[in-house]
Symmetry: D2
Subunit: 176 residues, 4 copies
């Protein structure tokens, strides 16, 4: 059985992205997948300085995530929209991973989340560029959950189209 990482793409506390990440984890588990949840909030608070460049590989707490990312082969990124793209902390996390083999010939799926109307469309486009550059194939279907605040209640998505898109994506990703 494949093991899939679901990565919540922000380090914000109590984020909507974490709610969606938990939902996605449950969805994959219903489909008999083994899921590892990665929460950027748990990264060492100084990792942008202590785990990159000449310090690459030297931060033990960060290395736990670094090794996990090397080992796993399928990733779902739940990506909120900050300033018209993805959170800087997500890219910093990527910048701290083992290069170039962390992503080469692996597979990922992207979910966009926004309080506004765009559903993180540009964020998903930018991330697709990055992951393709790193040699990772990105599933074409990338649900954009716009105005998420209106469509999430008690940890469940109340919008039928969103639920259908997420189920379709999860199913396609398992077969990808």
């Amino acid at each position: 059985m494949n093991e899939i990482a679901v990565i919540c793409g922000t380090n914000r506390n109590d984020s909507v992205s974490m709610e969606v990440s938990l939902l996605y984890k449950a969805l994959l588990e219903e489909l008999d997948q083994n899921v590892e949840l990665i929460d950027l909030k748990r990264l060492p608070v100084d990792f942008a300085f202590s785990a990159l460049y000449e310090n690459s590989g030297k931060n033990e707490a960060f290395n736990t995530y670094r090794d996990l990312m090397v080992r796993l082969r399928k990733f779902v990124f739940v990506v909120p929209e900050y300033n018209g793209s993805f959170p800087g902390v997500l890219k910093t996390f990527i910048d701290g991973l083992k290069f170039p083999h962390t992503f080469t010939d692996k597979k990922c799926a992207l979910v966009g989340v926004s309080s506004g109307v765009q559903g993180a469309g540009l964020a998903l486009s930018h991330l697709t560029d990055i992951f393709n550059y790193c040699g990772m194939n990105v599933l074409a279907l990338k649900p954009k959950l716009a105005r998420i605040d209106k469509h999430l209640k008690d940890g469940q998505i109340t919008n039928d189209l969103f639920n259908q898109l997420l189920r379709d994506q999860a199913q396609k990703f398992i077969e990808f």
Copy 2:
């Protein structure tokens, strides 16, 4: 007289981007501009956690930069290519700035730097999306300094085309 910030887009030590930033500062000063250099390496090492979201505005050391960015109206970003886009730390810096007025109706110029052949082309495209989203006009001319290691010696750029592009950009940016 306008004051222009030159922002080195990485927190890496001894970066080529800082060399280019210093060159750009000198270039603008030759053109009688007043320049402030912003070095992401000097940000508080935990700013991704202590200066964003519910902590927005609460980190005094970060606030120095936050206030400076609000006050200035023209920015030059020197942008290295990391993993096919700009450094995560640069976006995290942007994510920590005062929203939405830090960039609205202001102006910026972008310079791409890479050791590889692309000259950070996608990074500059992604940043243009972000800054336009934030309401900041981006100068069309964006030099892409590819294979920078071959073209930089003793703190000077040895490639005539690169020097011409930077001078053209600086001149256009002053008039922008």
Copy 3:
């Protein structure tokens, strides 16, 4: 007085983009601008073959537009979303223009139009890349008129936010 071209970015008959283009023309005229409307529907039907590459400059009917684009210095592009980007015919039009001087150091504003929820966001990002490559500055504010069918009646836009965005853009563009 500046003369501004408003370019309807499709050759589709009876397009919503033409309705928006006519609205934009009226808006600019209210602001005392002289406006030229360019309608891609009027291009020679075989221009993709008879006016490009080795035939560049040889199609008299196309040359009328080619010369007009060289002469004018400010452009508003009204851009519908087709297949997740702008219409191919708009890019083919650009490919037939005089290179490289048609756009260098000129200015443009972009308006996105879609029947779906995205408002042609990616189309505007792609066009910004293209125009910046050609040396043309693009105004940061790019209204995205999503679900346009719900917001257009009898040639008028009924959505207050859309009207405000278009007026703001027109005003900023005149001063750009």
Copy 4:
């Protein structure tokens, strides 16, 4: 056995892209693939008007290509860089295809070609956005053949890295 279409992304006569397309066809055939070459130069010269929108499906000469694109499930696009992106005629071709099922759940690989130094990097990014929007998975590895004129002689690529990248891509695409 899968049948793969190789699509030359321009209608220019005697294009370098066609040389690369023919090379790619031969490469796939060496790998025991059945290849169909699609040459946009053979499209009806007025197809941007006679085969789109209300004329969709009405141009018999265009329908040959339209039906072929529906039937095939794997596509290689050879994409030259025109004005910082892909040729307009390629997007117009896409705009004339049967929507939305031509590309859904299919697979493609992209090759960039340029006389300049960028290797059509932004063109490939824009096309990836478009194909993902249409539901088609895009192979991450996208060779960018920059300064192609220096690396092509007598119909063969003389740059070892380029040849290796194309072989790697072809092999990965067959397994994709």
